[in-house]
């Protein structure tokens, strides 16, 4: 029972910092997911309606991001980012030392990885938009942007929602890797707590519970959104 007090909110408890760390995990995950969604839309657009060059670029990008370990990409942004910032900063004559924050490196790295995966989901959904609705939009004189905003995006998002939900789950789990940069999110915080108290199993179990809580709750949210997006649609055989 003494052990469990370590997880509480008392004077010796790590409860408060663990909650803060959980919120940091959420923050970095949301930021990375949004980066990934923006990039994924761009890549999907390149693959669906771009020319040969755009298609090849999008294809190559996806292949690279799916074949390289996430942790290498994070290292690349963290250490490499510092190298690049230092080079640019020194060239411009600013005094050093230069640094890039763990949050920034993690958000960009996971966002770029997730972007490649989200692009695949979005491409499939985009191609499933009924051609007739696009033609109808064109006939009533919509501009390309209006067509995308009012016809393509709303329909494609409904199809893409389950796939995007899966990508969100991956982003949460990948966010644990950002701990290697020293950003104090859940993984980092439980490592510190485990090292300080020497209660390794207890704190890693607590960390696992935090991740499970986040993944389970957000899964429910995505299901609600899915049901909401399907209102008014006729249900299929299932």
């Amino acid at each position: 029972m003494e052990d469990l007090a370590l997880l509480g909110f008392g004077p010796d408890g790590w409860g408060k910092v663990l909650v803060q760390a959980g919120l940091m995990t959420l923050a970095v995950s949301v930021a990375a997911f949004v980066v990934g969604l923006a990039l994924g839309t761009l890549i999907a657009w390149g693959r669906v309606s771009g020319g040969g060059m755009a298609r090849a670029l999008a294809h190559g990008y996806t292949a690279v991001m799916r074949g390289v370990p996430e942790i290498l990409v994070i290292y690349l942004f963290y250490f490499g980012g510092r190298q690049v910032v230092t080079a640019v900063g020194t060239a411009l004559g600013f005094p050093g030392p230069f640094d890039i924050s763990g949050f920034m490196a993690g958000m960009l790295a996971i966002g770029l990885i997730s972007g490649a995966n989200q692009a695949e989901v979005l491409r499939g959904a985009w191609q499933a938009v009924p051609k007739g609705t696009i033609e109808a939009g064109r006939v009533v004189g919509m501009s390309r942007f209006t067509l995308f905003r009012r016809v393509i995006a709303p329909q494609a998002l409904v199809t893409a929602l389950p796939g995007l939900g899966n990508q969100w789950q991956s982003v949460i789990k990948e966010s644990a890797l950002v701990s290697v940069t020293g950003l104090v999110e859940t993984m980092r915080q439980v490592s510190v707590a485990a090292g300080t108290t020497q209660e390794h199993f207890l704190f890693y179990a607590a960390g696992a519970a935090i991740y499970l809580a986040i993944t389970t709750l957000s899964d429910q949210l995505f299901r609600l959104a899915e049901r909401h997006s399907l209102r008014g649609h006729q249900q299929g055989g299932m």
Partner: protein, 229 residues
Amino acid sequence: MDLSFIGTMFLRILGGLPLTLNLWGLSLLGGAILALGLNLLRTTRVGDKVASAYVFVFRGTPLLIQIFMIYFGLAGFGFIRHSVLWPFLREPYWCGLLALVLNDAAYTSEILRGGLRAVPRGAVEAGRVSGMSRFTILRRITLPLAIRQALPAYSSEVISMLKATALVSTITLMDMTGIARAAISETWRAVEILLSAAAIYLALSLIVTQLSVWIERRLSPWQFQRTNR
């Protein structure tokens, strides 16, 4: 960019390839066996609950935390330190491999479950009628059909596991990522080193992609003959 530096680093990182391949192959093998076991467990009611809980926990938490839990966490229990398993669980290699196997099993069992669901009932009944034993049906009808069905999803899982092996570098193992990480702290030339490591991983994953397309073709030649005509 300094080409000779990249060349040196490339060769140095290749030194970690045997360990990466070792962990990759063994974790896929162990994961596949355990995944099959989990699916056999699902045929009973209690077993189904156990398998679901297992999959829920291992798919809902990051692999990194699973590795740390096994490597640092298990040592906290006296009965484990005094058990016959301790000589293994003391070593980062066995802890890393165990975490990879347990993690891969959760994902692979779900992929296999999808494949098993797609096996037509009639095929199994035909086997039963011709007097096959339950094991023979599993070996000659159910598994070949299920595996064929699950292959595309499984090839992504194989690539995920290649990438997952990189995480064992966090518990001091010197796989390709571990060597790259050590080289960075010696030279501080991160970009060149990381790009060399990334190129090797990428080449391996491209080989898997090509191989899976080839196997898929071999296993269902009729589909491709029809489209080629």
